[in-house]
Symmetry: C2
Subunit: 339 residues, 2 copies
């Protein structure tokens, strides 16, 4: 009989969260370790393994794990590696899938970047259940994306497809982006982008704003949100500006894959009508006539505390399948019979 | 035994070309009828059927057709209909697949738009053989596109995905586009777009140019090409302008699906280095660092006279499969056994 659980692991810049998940998307139990405690990757994997082992024992789940899914920045589905991660201390090429699988006695491991994991989570357990064509947009420090076409994640020929945070939204005099270019969506519509807009607006314009009471270089998107909720006009305009750019970019995304929905996740996505109203307005105005009224803009249905683990875990089921097929190919056996 | 041929039909605004194609992509024979001769769609289908019948008889190919693939502007793969075609006289919704299949005694028919057909043709017989991720761009009167992800055409949830000619390349003061919006790629980088650029350049600028000897409103992209080849500086600049916008747009396309190649087809694509040099330069400069040097820009390898029929025919093989599966689903039979 096939095993009832998968393990979802989300490697963030600060914490690595892991959880045992069942087929219905219940997080049975979860725990975390500090991601950056060990500069040696083997030591990190050892601590992760020990932490998971404790969690499995406590929940009577040893030998019940089908596969492990891992979401991590810059993780590549095809190679199983993390490539040039900006915030992890283990070097430019990290053989993530291989080392974790070995530490767990050969349990199959599949990895992908965090936004793709979020898309899988949403498709398996969340707002995209039953959808075959949708786009997941994560609005956090950056803007990430996972594109699903015909029920499958789009990885591209090299495993790095889906960098919609780096569509160019301003061709001339655009803001510098962390990717080394200028004018990327992420430079405007991430949490960091909102803070940059606030600084620009405060410097260039003269209206009063409660944001002027703060140190300009310390302003966060949360500050802008709080000010807007309290009625500050300039803060509201910052959200209008952000939502409008996002809505226009969404219209281009629809011309690409004509998705049933674009689903938003992440801190900034919880700004409510402040963001969603200008976003929807700009989207409706910008979308190509043939697509008008067809694509919904939705919010994630996953609890934020569970979402990263759930997303990664969704890949764990797939890891099992990939392993079965590989074994079947080698042995000529029917994958169903060796479970 | 399965039948050795498919029929490819390309419905253009002027001519409807049809051909008998074998599994190796040889066009055994082809012929054409005038598309707009009949304002009644049934009459058109009858003439098409008669023309095809003659071609089949002449080539001893009756009862040897597996399926029919049709490429037509605004044709929808899912519904089999043509929707709101700008240049066809048969009304807003044309039940293309159903009527053609009925006229041909139930032979399965699959339809898609012309750019998707071109992508299928290239994947089956041309420059994209063996590729699982590529984008086809057709540069004609408009800019069309067919996107292939993971070996499959991207149709989107409604069958209309892949409108890359309508990505917005100029957000402010962009040119009017036939789709009703402004700033679309197509308004700049189609044959029509090149002619518009010529008129703009000639009006705004003062340098001498042999293009000034022509009636400004009659200038075509062919005129600009001829002038550029003859060394006209302004005409060359028009191609620089066009190629640069196209290259920048291609960089955004790569951020989306990370294709192995972008393949160009159509009259304008045959402008050689005049177009390809600025295009490649702008692309190399604009593409996100993680994708640098990975995506090739290629020209179609299909003979232009055959390409439309070949592309449509590629869908004919698929039509057969869809039919088999549908029959198998209904009857519970193995599709292999009912061939």
């Amino acid at each position: 009989m096939s095993k009832p659980y998968v393990l979802g692991v989300d490697i963030g810049g600060t914490n690595t969260v892991f959880g045992i998940v069942d087929a219905r998307g219940q997080v049975i139990a979860s725990d975390s370790i500090k991601t950056r405690k060990h500069t040696n990757f083997d030591d990190y994997v050892e601590e992760l393994h020990a932490g998971v082992q404790r969690l499995l024992e406590k929940n009577d789940a040893e030998d019940k794990i089908q596969g492990i899914g891992i979401g991590a920045p810059n993780a590549n589905y095809y190679t199983g590696e993390i490539l040039n991660p900006p915030n992890l201390p283990w070097g430019p090429i990290i053989p993530l899938a291989e080392k974790v699988s070995r530490a767990f006695g050969g349990i199959p491991v599949a990895v992908t970047n965090d936004a793709n994991a979020a898309a899988l989570g949403e498709m398996t357990y969340g707002a995209a259940r039953g959808m075959k064509d949708f786009i997941m947009i994560t609005l956090g420090t950056g803007v990430g994306s996972g594109i699903v076409v015909n029920g499958q994640l789009v990885y591209g020929h090299d495993g790095f497809a889906g960098e919609l945070g780096h569509l160019i939204v301003k061709r001339n005099n655009g803001r510098m982006c962390g990717c080394g270019r200028t004018g990327c969506l992420e430079a405007y519509c991430s949490a960091t982008g909102v803070a940059r807009t606030a600084r620009e607006f405060l410097e260039v314009r003269t209206e009063p704003s409660t944001l002027r009471n703060l140190q300009i270089e310390d302003i966060t998107s949360k500050d802008v949100y709080d000010a807007a909720v309290a009625g500050d006009k300039l803060a509201k305009e910052i959200f209008n500006y952000t939502g409008t750019i996002l809505g226009e970019a969404f219209a281009d995304m629809v011309s690409f894959t004509s998705p049933q929905a674009i689903i938003l996740f992440g801190g900034l996505a919880k700004s409510g009508e402040l963001l969603m109203k200008p976003l929807q307005d700009a989207f409706d105005k910008s979308v190509m006539p043939v697509f008008k009224g067809k694509t919904k803009i939705l919010l994630s249905e996953l609890k934020e505390s569970d979402a990263a683990v759930l997303g990664a875990s969704a890949l764990g089921w797939e890891a099992r399948n990939r392993f079965d097929n590989a074994v079947a190919e080698v042995s000529g056996a029917d994958p169903e019979k060796i479970k």
